[in-house]
Symmetry: C2
Subunit: 402 residues, 2 copies
């Protein structure tokens, strides 16, 4: 029998066929950096202490998530991001994607308008599209979301009589450009948002990964949470497969987010293990991980420079796990990504990472965190080869000389 | 600033204030039955073997979930439920609530009609209501969903020109009545569904908890999955807080469900731990747990009989974690639940567990799995006391004589 599914579903997924040989897509991380032995010890101790609480949907912590983990986050966010919040203002989610879904669900109805960075996380674009939102993109420069661009967009919408539901931004290690919004820019953005009575949705999931180990105060911190909802994640700093993130929001917004979280709680074993592991190990682990990622970032950057030369324009990331690449005229990154995939190199075409897919065809994104250094170098060489074959650039030396 | 939230949100949640002294709501389980030591060993071994795969969103298993866990489930479902499926037809979800959400999202658009058991899981009712579905309830008798009732409902809808999107049923240890649909009834229901070209959505999350340890073949098994989508869960058999469930569906339906699962995977630590624990321990654990639950069920049943007498009508459950209670005329269980909560006894009022809330006011549901035997007895006595104070029944002996 043929099922009568909703007529407006996204295209069905195909069966999974494994990772590409050079897997530069998604946000996977360095396998060697997973603190396995420490996690064994933490899981053991957590289970021995509170394993019996697994019999309860919310352990003994209520629907906002493991209390010990929230206590760690309250202290960590205060120290690192300047955020002042209580455990009641923290909601543990199943990764920050779940945070995206909850905040979007609270704000966005079909036809609503949202402002985002013109290049932004592809999953945020597709989520907002699925909700029927009108998406307005604003430029990003070296200091982050453009204040002039935001001001212009807000003014234009005001002339239309449209009040956007929120300004979604990834200010600290922006995905995909890896820029960090300056403190001055943060103040400008907050002032604009306040003047137009538009809240800010701050996605801070890469914020622990600046090479320097420091970051400006979160937008939530600068504003006291009055006009900002904030999400974060352990995916980039501990392990993506753990699926543990969080939302910081004040009441009554938190009450609305909670009423939409009808999942019976987020995974408890992960929460109790992290609650055990984090206080003792998070900081030292983050220092090590940043060093691993910075080294891989340099390898990726150097390989791209060496292989592509002036066929591309790139800036060295100052944190994170991604390199954003602008390509020369004549290269279509959607076609490049398709051809590269056939050759075993998976990249994220820019059309999926920009609000204007045509602009996106001039960019692509590569994640350097998972592959090892040799794999990065070989994959970039292979990508350049595919690009040369498909578009005639970059120039390639004869094989024997390479 | 006041956030401009969606106007159609459910009421916001209040801050959590802890469990009631006699906590008979929800689906929590016996804390002593959580196999803590075995889970420590399993988590340790799983992390040591494959902890490094946590660096990848989907471990090395792809978006359908941990391959070893799916392999266990393929074998288990074949043996226990008669289901023939492959690992490609299994999707690990974050609890069966997540399965509900994915299947609902694939089928139900606002205005669509669905058929459910007249008394059913409250979370399913609220989910379908949130999606804007029209919900048609069909009676449940001692053999499960009434075939005559289903036939009448399908005929009536056909006369209206309405084809329901699915028939949602909990056939094996029905929530809340704890009935198990007979094999003969299953055949009748499948034939009716087939004749009307309406798929069946089978929620099997309590199916491992019949006191006998046996169960009829799943509807999915009897139909070969042609017209059935099936969900299940480890919540009731291992621990609700783990949040691990599954969907069984054939392709191309599975491809549509996968395309809606944009969560970056379900919790990996739980999946790899269960994949390690299940093959060796699941069966013995289920035997022990069923004995614990059957004993508590008897305590709850006896206490209700003793305290309420002919003020209520109950049948002894033959599995599961719930007792469904019908009350005499003159008792409104919505008011009873409110008064009882003040006295430290939390029960689920039937209005939340039936498609017709007015009918629901004649019923309530109690979960007997979490409290110990003394707590069950005391809580039922207190509930009877509250009922007597509020509605004049049941008759109470003077305190000194009790």
């Amino acid at each position: 029998m043929t099922f009568a599914l909703r007529p407006d579903l996204p295209p069905p997924s195909a069966k999974w066929t494994g990772l590409s040989k050079h897997h530069f897509v998604g946000g996977n991380n360095d396998a060697g950096a997973v603190p396995v032995a420490e996690l064994v010890a933490a899981a053991t101790r957590a289970l021995e202490r509170e394993g019996h609480t697994l019999a309860n949907y919310f352990m003994h912590s209520g629907p906002q998530g493991h209390r010990g983990l929230r206590e760690f986050l309250v202290a960590k966010l205060a120290r690192d991001a300047g955020i002042v919040c209580t455990v009641d203002e923290l909601l543990i989610t199943s990764g920050s994607l779940h945070g995206l879904d909850l905040v979007n669900a609270a704000f966005v109805a079909p036809g609503d308008t949202v402002i985002v960075e013109r290049s932004t996380y592809g999953g945020s674009i597709t989520r907002l599209q699925r909700l029927g939102a009108r998406i307005v993109g604003v430029d990003v420069d070296a200091d982050g979301l453009s204040a002039q661009g935001l001001s212009d967009a807000l003014d234009a919408l005001q002339r239309e009589g449209v009040r956007p539901k929120f300004i979604y931004t990834i200010p600290t290690v922006h995905n995909p450009t890896a820029t960090v919004m300056s403190a001055a820019r943060r103040a400008e953005i907050l002032a604009l948002a306040h003047r137009h009575a538009v809240p800010i949705f701050e996605d801070d999931c890469y914020a622990d990964l600046t090479w320097s180990g420091t970051r400006p105060p979160a937008l939530y911190a600068l504003d006291g949470g009055e006009n900002v909802v904030h999400i974060g994640s352990f995916s980039k700093t501990v392990a993506p497969a753990l699926r543990v993130g969080w939302i910081v929001a004040r009441w009554p917004l938190m009450g609305h987010l909670l009423s939409l979280k009808v999942d019976g709680g987020s995974g408890a074993l992960e929460q109790m293990t992290l609650a055990q592991w984090c206080p003792r190990h998070f900081d030292a682990h983050a220092v090590q991980l940043r060093a691993v990622l910075e080294a891989k970032s340099r390898t990726m950057f150097d390989a791209l420079q060496a292989q592509f030369g002036d066929t591309i324009r790139i800036a060295p990331p100052i944190g994170g796990i991604f390199q954003w690449v602008e390509v020369a005229d004549g290269i279509d990154t959607t076609r490049l990504a398709q051809a590269a995939l056939q050759a075993g190199v998976a990249i994220n075409p820019g059309a999926e990472w920009m609000t204007d897919p045509e602009q996106g065809r001039r960019h692509f994104r590569v994640c350097f965190a998972q592959p090892d250094h040799d794999n990065l170098r070989e994959g970039v060489a292979r990508l350049a080869e595919v690009c040369h074959r498909t578009f005639g650039v970059p120039a390639r030396a004869p094989l024997a000389h390479r």
